[in-house]
Symmetry: C2
Subunit: 254 residues, 2 copies
Amino acid sequence: MSGRLIIVGLGPGNPDQMTPEARAAIDASSDFFGYFPYVERLNLRTDQTAHASDNREELARAAAALDLALQGRNVCMVSGGDPGVFAMAAAVIEAIDRGKPEWKTVEMSVLPGITAMLAVAARVGAPLGHDFCAISLSDNLKPWGIIEKRLALAAQAGLVMAFYNPVSKARPWQLGRAFDILREHLSADVPVVFGRAAGRPDEIMLVKSLADARPEMADMATCVIVGTAETRIVERGTKPSLVYTPRFLKSETH
Amino acid sequence: MSGRLIIVGLGPGNPDQMTPEARAAIDASSDFFGYFPYVERLNLRTDQTAHASDNREELARAAAALDLALQGRNVCMVSGGDPGVFAMAAAVIEAIDRGKPEWKTVEMSVLPGITAMLAVAARVGAPLGHDFCAISLSDNLKPWGIIEKRLALAAQAGLVMAFYNPVSKARPWQLGRAFDILREHLSADVPVVFGRAAGRPDEIMLVKSLADARPEMADMATCVIVGTAETRIVERGTKPSLVYTPRFLKSETH
């Protein structure tokens, strides 16, 4: 008797931004794993069981979920945003790759979600309108030197950048250092968007220049988007300004 | 009397992957603009009007939509995937930026959607599990030389790459040239995913090595994902293989 494991993206937090297939997978599951704020968001029925856990316990969480699926349960692993972007899908598959051989027999699927950078971009316009990259600033997961190298190369490449995990209590200085590196490569007036809780009642969107961007403007729940030389801010009088990166790029600009 | 313009992401094509807020915006709109296959997908009511147009007419389409919103209509501009990723949001805001001053008074919002790379990644595992970039291979929108430079820098940075607009009838050679450039920087066994129509009945997912990747494996509707030196393929016997990029990166590998 074998159950299954579905890894579900909940989107940015607004229930109207969760896909119907994600909603259906939640309704059809018996057991729920994930970081506890995401599991709490689900409003589970009394016949559904929460197995919430703390952050930074991803591999143990994946192992427990796979074991329960092997026992025949309909298991759901939830991630905020999209499960494939700095989230649980890679952790579960890493467990399948390196863990118990029988985990390879578990029926498993991944359901995508609206990831933070898309939700934040939509609220301010279209800052990701041209080529872009997504970089996690967490040096829990990779050496800081590699992050610095990636920032410099992405700036040289003219890519818009979206930063995930920009700051935390344990990582207070990394975002400020990232801005310093970018100031060596990009001009002071490049727009920087600080997007927190996009689409939720406590949403905060800040648009600054790179010169004025400060790490205190972000917290754990913020996605930071740094534009390029082409990114523009459109003033609209009393309406909020729009930030966009044009689709066209002329050769003279590079 | 002023109407409004909502720019809506329809997701990859499976209705179960369209968000409820996108669905509600469509139901509440009177006039629809967009590339004709996307408008056809909507099954409009008899009191709703389609203004579909061909591809590569984005600015004219944006202008017509803004004019109609100014006349008091509830206008909806649709994009496949996410409207902020190589799609209509940047075109509309460019029109607002550079066009008629009164367009700045139009009530306008953007609703995000599941973009192709997230849908494709979910179907094969978690190839975007670590830092990644999204690059359009269309040299209608930028000089080919800039694309070559970006490919080389992204490979040096160790970013997973998702290619949008990889080929078309008018751009037959660009994807093959991109693979050639990447072979100069990445090893032959790096996984390459060709994902077409993710989540739809006609879905095709191919996983190849960079050595075996051929441009004929993609068409206009394909999103191509190229891994890094860390990206792994997990064989599972009779089940489809999984592709993932681990969350952790050790310093020795770079």
